[in-house]
Structures are given as structure tokens and as C-alpha cells.
């Protein structure tokens, strides 16, 4: 760790793996340090020494920066730089010690890159530059040692392509050839790769689709491509595809891939002809965008057989081989010979046109659809200049086209309005594209479309809707033609079909139910409509409730109140049964009413006596008699109720 005094207050570099240090930095840095909250620009390199062709991970950390922006990597000319992503380092830690809360808030971001050196030697990695709060911070420069491959001839790598320049949508192949020196006699006929105990490790960036250059499309997925090269006899491991790959679910180590070998002769390190086995990894791509495509570098690490001793034991030698990247340039279609009707489409296409309706009046809208179907740069295809066609311009007003890609076709839709009446044909529209197979421009034409245009109906001035004040200028007219929009509300799909029989049954059921209820309700109606009847029915229950309360009062020693309630219970019972007012009903009247009902004399006398005792108690009578009443009154009231019910009043 060192400082750069010329710039920011805290600039550090670290050269070990970052995950552990960053974690420690974030979690364990003392609060006093964090409390300073000064921006920091840290840089880290995963390795300080690599072989040519290998990549190194480079990380830039902006610490104590609330809203960081990605740093600038200026002067990285010796490296291919690929962004690997970024992650937040924001954290918040709250600790409470002895009731005192301490909060530590950190903010920052880490940016990761893959640096691939373009040459060997001791390379300087310039410091990244970041703008933080208007100040410029520059990180420290680092040094990376890139070791060139050793001069050896045991395994030689080459990357070739069948085309140096391609057009978009033009397929091309990238071939990685590994020439492995043949084994010495007497085992020269044995495959020099399958005899190896450990698989030589091949790093080939385009072997997996995730690391393909932008703007290129493989003809098949990498799994499909590589599965055909699987070998159980050994071979090369590629990008360490193995236990972490979907195609090797149950394998632990890297898988072996071995193309069909080809035996050749080439010059060895001493310049003499030597036998070699060549293995070709060939993958086919299609360029989709203009620009420069870089494939590589490819590296190979492994122990290859250098000699065989007298006992047929192999002597191996560690080999690190590198093949420099292969550049394929994707260029635009040539300007020479480019037709005016060229629409920036490259590939192979067919063209179709439709015009609806086929009969219209002057001024009616027509819809012209051009459909360009095929394989190629469909999205880049521009709408053909229909309005520029002399015949079209003379007879139609053309509005701007809409463009849309659906599946393998691009649709250009134009709105037209015919200007002249007559039986005519919509003229053929020329469209040109660049055919990548023939490497020349190809012109297509739509077929003329029969069209009948009638004279427009003239409408009176008053029929035209004109905005106030604009009658002399352009007026807006309501178009009466054309259908209005579909209904796309899914709720409207609810079944509206009517089953009249069901509804009729429902209404009939209501009628029948009403009649049934009306018939059955007569007694109920009589009951609910006769208040006296309801009072009579409720009388015994009410009397018993009052009697129970009165007895409780007497038992509690409130003899006067209890006696009064007891009398009221009996009087109320008779009043309810007789349909008379209870208030003011005297003992004499009770007795008369009972007599009128032909209640037995003995019972009538007992009731009269009970009421007399109650009246007496009210005016200071014997408490002993009242006490007795609390025991004799309930059976007496029960008898009275039975007697009154027996009379069916």
C-alpha cells in the first residue's frame, strides 16, 4: 500500500485477491477511520504475473462515495478491457454498547474489469480516474508482468478464419488449430494427446456463447457445438468446462474434447520437417453488426511428450502456447453499384405487397403493405421510398410508413389516398438489398396490384365540420369510413347467453313460494296481528319471572318490596289474561275476574288471601306471613296458570 501525494488524500493499491480484503475492509475497519468519510480510490489486481494471452481481473473501488460514477480507464492501450460488472459496497452497521448507539455507514462501489495484455513484457497499468464531488481522483498505476510463451515446438496454436472481411449476415468460420508434435518412434502412430495423463487446458474465448464478441451470432449453441467434440479417450479441456457445466452433471473434473486429428508435416524449432498431429476446433458464426470482431487470444497449457526413453517411458515438458487474436472486419455493403432502391438490407429476402381495399374513391384511405421476408439485417431495413416513385407520386398522396419486424419478416405499412379516379394498377415498387452469398446487390419488385378508384362524392359545405374561425383555412372533417376499434376487455368475454327456461322457472318458483307462504302464514298472521292474543300467550312466563324476582326480594329481607312485587305478579297475570290494564286493578277486581272465569272457589280464595297479605305487608303487616308467601306463592301461581289455560282463554 502506498500513497500518491500528487492527488487525492487517500489512494491505495492492493495486490492480493480482493474478496477477502474488501470484506475485511468493509466489516472490520474501525469506526474512527470510517468517520473521516473521505473518498478513497482503490485499485486491485488479481495477479501480478501472467502468461501472454491470459487475462487478469482488475478492480477499481470507490469508497466513501455516495453516488459514484464509473471511473475512466485512460491509457490502457496495451490491454483489451472488458467490463465484468460492478457491485455496491454500501453497508450500515449499528451497535449498542452500554446503552450508547453507534452507527457506521459506508457507501461505495466496486467496478470489475478483465484486462487482456496485447503484448508481453512488464506492462504498466495506468491509474483510473474518477470524478468525485467536482474533484478529480487518480488511482495508482500498477505493473503487470506478462510472460511470453517459451520457444517450443511441441504444441503450436493458430487461429485462422476463412474470411478477413465479411458483410453483415455473411457466415464465416473461425478455426483454432493445435499442432502437436508426433511421438517419437516406435510409438509415432499413437495420438500424442490421448496418451497424456492430464488434459491440456485450452482457453478459447469463443467456445462459450457468453464470451462471444458483440455483434456475432453462432450457427448453433455452444453446448450443441462442443458436445460433438466430446471424447472419452482424453483430449483437451476447454475453458475448464466440466463439473460446472450442464453437459457434465456427474463428472467432477474437466471434460475432454478431441476433434478428428489430421497428420501433417511442418517445420520444427530447428527448421527441419517434423510430423505433427493437427486438431481443428472450428466454429461458424454470422456477423450481425458492422465493426471489428476479435477472436482470441487462445492459450494452451499442458505437459506434452518430448521424448520416449528405451523403456517406452514418456518424458514430458510443460508447454504454454498462445495464439494471437484473429480480427474479422464486418463492413457495410459496397457503395459502388448501390441502387437507389437499396434499403440497407443485407441478406437474402423476398418481397410481397398488398393493397386494401381494392376499390375506393378518390381521397379514400388505402393501406399498402410491403413485406420483406428472409434472413438478414431485417431490423436495419429502411422503408422503401414509395412516395418517390414517379407513378405513385402522380396518382397518390403517400403518408409516412410504419415499420415493424414480425418473425422473419419486416412489414412496411403506408397510408395512401388516391388523387385520380380510374381503373388502374398500383405500380410495382422496386426494392434492393445486398445478397451476401452472391456479394452483389439484388433488386426485387412487387407485382402491380389492380385497383379501381371511383370519383369521390361531393359534400355540401354545411356538411363539413369546420372549427370556428377556420372555415377559410384547413378544416377537420370527421371520417365516416373505416371500422371502429375492437373490444379487448377480457371481462366482456363473459357469457351473455340467455336461458329463458331457467329464468322462467325462477320467477315461477317465486310465485309458488309466495302462494305457499301466504297460505301457511294465516295462523302466524293472526298471531302477529292480535296484540291481546300475544299478551295472553306471554302472560304466564311474565308472571313467573316477576314471581321469581319477588321471592328473591323476600328471601333477601326486603319483605315489603317483595310482597308488592308478588301481588303485582298475580294481578298482572290476571290482567294480561283478561286483556285489561294492570294499573289500578284491585284485589277485588282480580277476584271478580277469577269468578267470572269460573275458577274454583278454593283457588280463588287462596289468590284473594295472597293478595290481602301482600296488601297488608305494604302497609306494615306480619312479616312471617310474607315469608310464608315466598314458599306458597309459586305453586299457587302454577295452579292459577293451569286453571286459566285449561279454560282456553
Amino acid at each position: 500500500m502506498h500513497r500518491d501525494p500528487a492527488n487525492s488524500p487517500k489512494l491505495r493499491d492492493r495486490s492480493c485477491r480482493w474478496w477477502l480484503p474488501i470484506g475485511l475492509l468493509v466489516l472490520l475497519t474501525p469506526p474512527t477511520l470510517a468517520a473521516q468519510d473521505e473518498p478513497e480510490l482503490l485499485v486491485e489486481l488479481s495477479r501480478q504475473r501472467i502468461y501472454e494471452g491470459e487475462s487478469v481481473e482488475y478492480q477499481v473501488i470507490l469508497n466513501h462515495v455516495p453516488s459514484p460514477q464509473p471511473p475512466r480507464l485512460d491509457g490502457f492501450d496495451d490491454f483489451q478491457v472488458q467490463a465484468l460488472g460492478e457491485n455496491s459496497l454500501d453497508s450500515r452497521q449499528i451497535s449498542i454498547i452500554n446503552g450508547r448507539m453507534t452507527e457506521v455507514v459506508r457507501q461505495g462501489r466496486a467496478y470489475r474489469y478483465a484486462l487482456t495484455p496485447k503484448r508481453s513484457g512488464s506492462l504498466s497499468i495506468p491509474g483510473p480516474v474518477a470524478e468525485i464531488d467536482g474533484r478529480t481522483y487518480t488511482g495508482p498505476a500498477l505493473t503487470l508482468v506478462v510472460v511470453p510463451p517459451a520457444d517450443q515446438d511441441l504444441a503450436v496454436l493458430e487461429i485462422t478464419s476463412d474470411r478477413e472481411h465479411v458483410y453483415p449476415m455473411q457466415p464465416f468460420t473461425i478455426r483454432c488449430t493445435i499442432a502437436v508434435k508426433a511421438l517419437p518412434e516406435p510409438v509415432a502412430d499413437r495420438n500424442p494427446v490421448t496418451v497424456l495423463r492430464r488434459l491440456p487446458a485450452l482457453s478459447m474465448p469463443w467456445a462459450t456463447d457468453e464470451s462471444l464478441p458483440a455483434g456475432v451470432k453462432p450457427d448453433r449453441t455452444w453446448q450443441d457445438w462442443i458436445e460433438r467434440l466430446r471424447s472419452s479417450r482424453g483430449g483437451f479441456s476447454i475453458n475448464n468446462i466440466g463439473s460446472r457445466s450442464v453437459i457434465s452433471l456427474f463428472d467432477d473434473g474437466p471434460l475432454g474434447f478431441l476433434p478428428e486429428p489430421r497428420r501433417t508435416t511442418r517445420k520444427d524449432r530447428t527448421g527441419r520437417d517434423a510430423a505433427y498431429w493437427e486438431f481443428d476446433f472450428v466454429r461458424r458464426f454470422t456477423a450481425c453488426e458492422l465493426g471489428e470482431l476479435s477472436f482470441g487470444p487462445v492459450t494452451l497449457k499442458g505437459a506434452f511428450v518430448a521424448a520416449v526413453d528405451a523403456d517406452a517411458r514418456a518424458e514430458t515438458e510443460d508447454v504454454f502456447a498462445v495464439a494471437k487474436p484473429r480480427i474479422v472486419i464486418v463492413r457495410d455493403a459496397p457503395a459502388e453499384g448501390r441502387p437507389d432502391s437499396y434499403i440497407q438490407a443485407i441478406g437474402q429476402f423476398t418481397l410481397a405487397a398488398s393493397l386494401v381495399p381494392s376499390e375506393a374513391k378518390v381521397g379514400d384511405p388505402l393501406t399498402l403493405t410491403l413485406k420483406l421476408r428472409g434472413e438478414g439485417t431485417l431490423d436495419a431495413a429502411q422503408a422503401p421510398d414509395v412516395a418517390g416513385h414517379p407513378e405513385v407520386a402522380e396518382r397518390f398522396r403517400v403518408y409516412e410508413a410504419t415499420e415493424e419486424t414480425r418473425g422473419d419478416a419486416r412489414w412496411f405499412t403506408y397510408s395512401l389516398r388516391p388523387l385520380q379516379p380510374g381503373q388502374t394498377a398500383f405500380p410495382a415498387i422496386p426494392v434492393s438489398y445486398f445478397d451476401v452469398d452472391q456479394e452483389r446487390y439484388v433488386s426485387l419488385q412487387t407485382s402491380p396490384i389492380p385497383l379501381s378508384i371511383a370519383e369521390a362524392e361531393r359534400i355540401r359545405e354545411g356538411e363539413i365540420a369546420v372549427a370556428p374561425g377556420t372555415r377559410s383555412g384547413q378544416a377537420i372533417e370527421v371520417r365516416q369510413d373505416g371500422i371502429l376499434a375492437n373490444i379487448d376487455d377480457l371481462a366482456s368475454l363473459r357469457n351473455q347467453s340467455v336461458r329463458p327456461a331457467g329464468w322462467l322457472a325462477y320467477v315461477s318458483l317465486l310465485g309458488v313460494a309466495y302462494v305457499g307462504i301466504a297460505l301457511a302464514s294465516r295462523p302466524l298472521s293472526r298471531y302477529f296481528g292480535d296484540a291481546e292474543l300475544q299478551r295472553r300467550r306471554a302472560a304466564p312466563g311474565r308472571a313467573r319471572l316477576r314471581l321469581r324476582a319477588a321471592c328473591a326480594e323476600i328471601q333477601a329481607g326486603c319483605q315489603r318490596d317483595g310482597a308488592e312485587q308478588l301481588g303485582a305478579a298475580v294481578t298482572g297475570l290476571v290482567a294480561d289474561m283478561a286483556g285489561q290494564s294492570e294499573a289500578g286493578m284491585t284485589s277485588r277486581e282480580v277476584e271478580r275476574q277469577l269468578a267470572a272465569w269460573d275458577v274454583a272457589d278454593e283457588l280463588r280464595q287462596q289468590v284473594a288471601r295472597l293478595l290481602e297479605i301482600c296488601d297488608g305487608a305494604r302497609y306494615g303487616g306480619s312479616s312471617g306471613q310474607v315469608q310464608e308467601l315466598s314458599e306458597s306463592a309459586p305453586p299457587l301461581v302454577d295452579r292459577l296458570v293451569r286453571a286459566l289455560k285449561g279454560d282456553k282463554r
Binding site: S354, N486, L490, L493, N495, Q496, L510, L524
Partner: protein, 263 residues
């Protein structure tokens, strides 16, 4: 008194629940497969480039109809698809059927008028009864049936209340009032049932078809001119592959059933 109050509240609640059920309807939500077909049809329409594509959308709508689902929106959309496909006769038939379920939809009226052309009107000349029963075409056929059921439920509830709960006279009058309304709305619904479900109508779907005086090509033409696509008619009788039809003016003739779409 408290008891009668509670009873009347319960009855009113039950009646309101029955009304809501009747008005809102108790049909189940559309199945997922139907919804997918509907969405496919909408997409087919939106992405259609020519008559065949629009016909494809119309066929998808027909798939839903064939499963017994009837919806004004469905028929309206199918009419649009036919219209775009250039099949005016079938479009008119769809729009006409949709009118029973969406009588106040201005877009449906506009599209039907477009399909009929400027010479024809959606409705014939209005008579006195049309003015008296002006509301008749405001409510959809299913709406009328449900409204009739809802009113019947209310009448039933008021009738029950009139049996038990005072003030009985008020409830009795309410019951009679709702009963009268029920009869009116039910009558309107019955008329709709008659015209939409009992009377078979049709529309000419060929560019031209010669109506004949009998059910064979050997008969003389019934009219001085062939019937044009979009001509609306009423089916009187079917004999084999021929339909006896009646035009709006009362003229009758026979046309091959393949030349007419019926509904």
C-alpha cells in the same frame, strides 16, 4: 315490535341479495382456454395484413361461439374481422346479433351503419309503439331478463313483508308496483326472446344471388334484380338446401342456403 323489525330487515336483505344476483348475473368467469383463444383472435386481427388474416381472426372468434359462449363483444369483434376481410354480409349478421347484447354501443351502431351502407338504416321507420316503448332498445336482451327476475324478487319480498310486517299497506302497494314493472319488463324480454331466438333471420353473403320462385334453380327469378350482398331477410321455411325468405318489404322468394348466413 323488535321481532317484526328484524324479520323485515332479513327479508329485505334477502331480496336485495336476490336482486343483485339477478342483475349482475351469476355466470362463471370465462375459462382460460377461451381467454387464450380470444387473445389469439385479437392478436390475429391486430397483426393481420390481408383478408385471409382477418378471416383467421373471425374463425377464432367462431371457435369461442361454437363452445356456447355468446357475448356482444365477441360478435362485435367478429363482425369487425369479417368487415376487414371484405365479407360485408357476414359482418352485418354479426353486428345484428351483437345488438341484442350491446344495444347502446355507439361503436357497434357506427360499424353496422358502415356495413349496411348509407342507403340502409339500422332500424326501420319508427311507429307510435316505438315512441311509447322508447326504452325497449335501451336495455339488452339478457339485461331485460335479469331485470325482470330482479323485479320479481323484489315483488316477492314486498309481498312477504306485506303478509307479516306493518305497515302492510305500504308493502302491499310496493309489491303491486314492482309486480307491474316486472310484467312490463318481462313482456319486453319475451318480445326480445321472440325476435332474437324464435325468428330466424339472415343476410346475403354472396356478391349477388338470384331469388327464385321455388326451391330449385329451374324456377323463375322471384325479383327483377338479384339480391346483393348484405341484403337482410327473414327465413320463413327451409327445404333441403333452399330457404324461403321474406324481405323487409314483404316480398318472398327462395335462395340457396349457402348464399345466406342465418342467425
Amino acid at each position: 315490535m323488535m321481532g317484526s323489525c328484524a324479520v323485515s330487515k332479513t327479508i329485505v336483505r334477502l331480496a336485495v341479495a336476490a336482486c343483485l344476483t339477478a342483475v349482475v348475473g351469476c355466470s362463471a368467469a370465462p375459462e382460460g382456454e377461451l381467454v387464450r383463444t380470444y387473445q389469439r383472435a385479437l392478436e390475429a386481427f391486430d397483426q393481420a395484413a390481408g383478408p385471409e388474416d382477418y378471416l383467421r381472426a373471425a374463425v377464432l372468434y367462431q371457435e369461442i361461439l361454437d363452445r356456447g359462449v355468446v357475448s356482444g363483444a365477441l360478435l362485435y369483434n367478429q363482425g369487425n374481422a369479417y368487415m376487414r376481410a371484405g365479407q360485408r354480409g357476414r359482418a352485418i349478421a354479426c353486428y345484428r346479433r351483437a345488438l341484442a347484447y350491446r344495444p347502446r354501443d355507439p361503436q357497434l351502431h357506427a360499424n353496422l351503419q358502415l356495413a349496411l351502407g348509407a342507403e340502409s338504416a339500422i332500424r326501420g321507420p319508427r311507429g307510435l309503439l316505438d315512441y311509447v316503448f322508447f326504452w325497449h332498445d335501451w336495455i339488452s336482451y339478457p339485461g331485460k331478463v335479469r331485470a325482470a327476475a330482479a323485479l320479481a324478487s323484489l315483488a316477492f319480498a314486498f309481498g312477504i313483508l306485506a303478509l307479516f310486517v306493518p305497515p302492510r299497506r305500504v308493502f302491499r302497494r310496493a309489491a303491486w308496483g314492482t309486480l307491474v314493472l316486472t310484467v312490463i319488463v318481462a313482456g319486453s324480454a319475451a318480445y326480445d326472446w321472440h325476435r332474437f331466438e324464435r325468428i330466424q333471420r339472415g343476410v346475403v353473403v354472396r356478391a349477388e344471388v338470384v331469388a327464385r320462385k321455388g326451391n330449385a334453380d329451374s324456377y323463375d327469378p322471384a325479383f327483377t334484380e338479384p339480391l346483393k350482398e348484405g341484403t337482410e331477410l327473414r327465413v320463413v321455411e327451409r327445404r333441403g338446401a333452399w330457404l324461403q325468405i321474406q324481405l323487409a318489404g314483404g316480398q318472398t322468394g327462395w335462395v340457396p342456403d349457402a348464399a345466406v348466413t342465418t342467425y
